[in-house]
Symmetry: C2
Subunit: 220 residues, 2 copies
């Protein structure tokens, strides 16, 4: 008989999930993350589900300031382009946001998808499944970090090709996520973009559909 | 001061992560999942991180046998094509595997990515970030299910366009995951594809790289 979790166990997991935050540079402490702790995070990651048990992930652990500086340079360029997508009040708000913690976080983690040459069970009809497996690994790591009171921020405002060059990555590797990891003074009570009114929280009824979409949706 | 989790809390999360399995049709019990329990799963999903707080997910809860039958039909077609990708011993093994539990699971959940027309903060340099947010929601749900001793199987051997038609989904919606959800007799001690020798478990040293890839990788 396999292990049965208790109601209290599921309530605790719900709390970890609810209190996880995306952490930016203003929050990270400089206290180092030791190898033992980092291993706990990576262990959670590699216990993620993967399509056809392909485990198509690679994790680059970055502690050197020189590498971080180069990635940060890519962020600055991409962030200027990103800001241009917005206008008026929204652009002003965007420009006041601190959207990464590359230099402040003691550990950066570049997470890659490494496609394999042979066919992968479960990936023959949906080609993105390998990438999605890597995302599952990132989410496992993110929750494990929160349970260890460690903050994680996912930086997506970077050029994946530049980051690949900086890290000397194989040509066929794909950058899926770039994470900033470190201890924090505290975690925000709510997602920052919710608190600032950037986007409203969606209600359950907005995102849950029974059996099938209404046919009027077809016109959307 | 935000909530601090204890060492025991992180150990419990590690156990939930380690004991989560991809569940196929041979394992599901017919016992129903009540609405209150399903809400706990969906609550975990919508507390996932999302790029720019865009919450770009939609969840279609399927309990009707007619809908499941149609999706199962897509599985049968795609699975025949999938099996052809393998040869010899591997193909024989593939054909003996039960790779889904669409009809056996009391609840199926089709999880969609719904792109928004306006630009999304954090998605301006990496277009896949919205899809990845939906995957984070799926992984949260999967772990929450395990903590409630509920099995989840992710079926990817289906044609996303067929499933969209069956579910009457809007044209711009993208199917990210199709999940089979139900109580189980027990959970396997190890991933089935590992136990059967389909793929070996990778070691930490195979997937973790320090600072940057070795330049010899460039030739790969």
């Amino acid at each position: 008989m396999s292990h049965q979790f208790s109601e209290n166990d599921s309530l605790l997991l719900a709390e970890i999930i609810r209190l996880r935050r995306d952490v930016r540079g203003t929050r990270f402490l400089s206290s180092p993350i030791d190898d033992n702790t980092l291993d706990k995070l990576l262990e959670a990651a590699i216990n993620a589900p993967s399509v056809g048990y392909s485990q198509p992930w690679q994790f680059v652990v970055i502690r050197e300031d020189g590498v971080k500086q180069q990635v940060h340079h890519s962020f600055i360029k991409e962030n200027a382009v990103g800001a241009e997508q917005f206008s008026g009040e929204k652009q002003r708000l965007y420009q006041n946001l601190k959207l990464e913690g590359i230099l402040e976080a003691p550990v950066n983690l570049a997470v890659f998808y490494q496609p394999q040459a042979k066919p992968v069970l479960g990936q023959t009809s949906m080609a993105d499944m390998g990438r999605f497996s890597v995302v599952c690994a990132i989410q496992n790591l993110w929750l494990m970090a929160r349970s260890l009171n460690i903050g994680v921020g996912w930086v997506s405002i970077i050029d994946p090709e530049s980051v690949k060059k900086i890290l000397n990555a194989p040509q066929d590797a794909e950058l899926i996520g770039y994470l900033c990891i470190g201890y924090v003074e505290d975690f925000l009570a709510e997602p920052e973009l919710k608190a600032l009114g950037w986007e409203k929280q969606k209600t359950m009824s907005e995102v849950i559909i029974k059996e099938r979409f209404d046919s009027t949706n077809q016109e959307k």
